[in-house]
Amino acid sequence: MSMRRFIAPLAACLLVSAPIAACSSSDDAGGGGGSITVRVYPLKSEADDKAFWATQVAAFEKANPGIKVTVDVQPWKDRETILVTQITGNKAPDVAYMVPDELRAFQAKGALEPIPDSVPKDGYRPAALNATTVDSKVYGAPILMSVIPGTCDKKVLTAAGITTPPATWDDLMAIAPKLKEKGFYATQLDATQAAAINTTFYPWVWQAGGDIFDQGGNLTVNSPQAVKALTYWTNLVKQGYAPKAEATTAVPLDQSAMAKRKVACEFNIEPNLLEKQWGDDRVVIPPLKDTVQRTYGTVGAYTILKGSKNKAAAAKWISFVTQPQVMAAVDKFGGYFAPKTTANLGYAPGTPAAETEKYLDMGYTGPAVAKGREVQAVIAPEVQAAVLGQKTPEQALQDASKNAQQILSR
């Protein structure tokens, strides 16, 4: 073969590898001087959030002359991708909002600075601060908390003649046949790879009394409790009590059975996020219980990126925004809850927000494990395999354990 004939396909193939390598290129930039950039994600909508933060920034800059703050509101979707690309390109913000498993992953890769002592840490709920602490160092200053209790669609319950929403796994299974008879699903499950399975499947394992990792960080995904949870899931799908498509494919929420008002109760999404789909028909119920009453609850926190050129100003911003009165304004604006007991939100009694707040202490994020997200990615397809009937729950979780162990051993 002539050189020309070799080089032409070679050159064409070079295109394949370029995108990944491009991410490793470096560029000189940073938030030096008296300015910082803060990365946040919409608590309401991009426009509303920008207006809200403009007010907070003005108050901060007035109290801290010489420091200029730019709040960058980015979409939730693919937020890690954007942030990682910016970090590798030396274009990262100084401060970024993160949830605990995300924080742990970035911290393990050396991207975060501990929150300095100058940032007040008094008044926090212990669970909030624990969720952002790694090896006794606080890497995130909590700004909000959320919890996913259960939400039922009053319209569906009424149509099926159900007067008492489910409180336990047995209750849910008991009302399911009646709902099916009327053309409804009892619930909607989600084990898609796009989903954060720690918010969808893990809570069922917790409710069965198990966990994915024990407190020592050892993998326990194939425990009898996890098998019990997965068996329960497969039964729901097998008997037509939960839609199969939504459990295994990333069906957009607006195209899902839930949006079509075909689902009685769901346990994957915060009630405030269902306002568009279910409106005033939302009935907030306590987290389900098998042997333990527990659900997913997260802590949103501000972190300082290692590449920040102005860590002192970043710390001042975090101190400002986590003051009880500012924190309360942030959480009230977004419909979330305050990690500081001293921040009073004053949600009106009876509203979905006030009802949800009652279950804040039942929220759990699971043990912080550096490769927790990577492990989630091997558990999700195995859960799908069980839901689709391709594997028994025991076999699926055995395989998940084997694949996860390989990741953890790297």
């Binding site: 004939r5 070799f6 396909p9 990944i20 390598a21 890690e80 199969k244 494919t249």
Partner: protein
């Protein structure tokens, strides 16, 4: 590269009246040839951009494959560790299998459809020109947007499963079926690509002299015989080009899968391109992701060379 022949004097010896022959001219370099510098001037910017944005990043990625990269900026030499891990990584082998399977489905599909449609819209009538535009529309349509529509088309109660049930095939949602999810994504990818390929084939078809076909027609050749023995051989170079391009594209598939299946169900649509993304941007394993990209590069190169030999050495058919 050729050089001008030196002048050789073969006549009688020169007399005093005759001028002495000019001394032999030194060979001219390629850069001295007519138009060479202009050609270089035109090519150089693109070449520089290619080196800057494609080749150098590729070298960077090649280096990263032998390293572990910290988001704090620390890079440590890892030797062959990433490749050794890859050998035992079941997910890698699964992704490789899915990628190969996907390519086997989508490359022939898109080429066959493109040739078929190009033959149909070959005539330059007004209505055919409209069809050409319509067939090209998917190329300029956002695959992300189309993906959402195709979720409905292949999903539970969508047109495709409903059509299947008419024929007694109860497939349910294609996207939750491990055997049908990949073909569904392949069909969407082919849908988004055939318009471009059709134009390439059409351009070549229009170069084929009509007289050849008319002569075959006079000789009594059937439509299939004319296509098989006359048109198809003329399309060999185009088919090779499309096979290479489509193979490369299919190995890099990402967006349709990202939107429609996220690699599921049960990893049945989890391709190497998706794995690269996950490893780099979800799990921050840049070294391992680069190692996978190197393997992907070698596979694509090998396939391209194999296709090169399979289609013969004569580009012009």
């Amino acid at each position: 590269m050729t050089s001008l022949p030196t002048q050789v004097h073969v006549g009688p010896p020169p007399t005093e009246e005759e001028p002495a022959p000019a001394p032999a001219r030194a060979p001219r370099g390629w850069w001295q040839q007519h138009g060479a510098l202009a050609g270089i001037a035109f090519v150089l910017p693109m070449f520089a951009l290619f080196v800057l944005f494609r080749f150098l990043p590729f070298l960077g990625g090649f280096g990263l494959a032998f390293a572990n990269v910290d988001l704090g900026g620390e890079i440590t030499f890892a030797g062959m560790a990433n490749f050794q891990y890859m050998i035992h990584d079941q997910l890698f082998w699964k992704a490789l299998t899915v990628t190969l399977l996907y390519s086997v489905i989508v490359v022939p599909l898109v080429i066959v459809v493109s040739i078929g449609l190009a033959l149909l819209v070959r005539r330059g009538t007004r209505s055919m020109r409209i069809f050409r535009s319509v067939f090209f529309l998917p190329v300029i349509t956002s695959l992300v947007l189309a993906g959402v529509v195709f979720i409905w088309i292949f999903g539970d109660g969508g047109p495709v499963p409903s059509l299947m049930s008419v024929f007694g095939l109860d497939t349910g949602s294609w996207l939750t079926n491990s055997a049908l999810a990949l073909p569904a994504v392949a069909i969407v990818a082919a849908w988004s690509r055939f318009g471009f390929d059709m134009l390439v084939v059409l351009a070549r078809l229009n170069e084929i002299p009509r007289e050849l076909e008319e002569a075959a027609l006079v000789d009594g050749a059937s439509a299939w015989q004319r296509f098989r023995h006359l048109t198809l051989p003329q399309l060999r170079s185009v088919v090779f080009f499309l096979a290479v391009i489509e193979t490369i594209t299919s190995f890099q598939v990402f967006d349709a899968i990202y939107i429609m299946t996220s690699g599921g169900p049960v990893n049945s649509t989890y391709t190497l391109g998706f794995m690269l993304y996950d490893q780099a941007f979800k799990f921050f394993n840049f070294g391992y992701s680069s190692a996978v990209s190197i393997v992907l590069f070698v596979i694509v190169l090998a396939f391209t060379l194999i296709q090169r030999f399979a289609f013969g050495r004569d580009d012009n058919g």
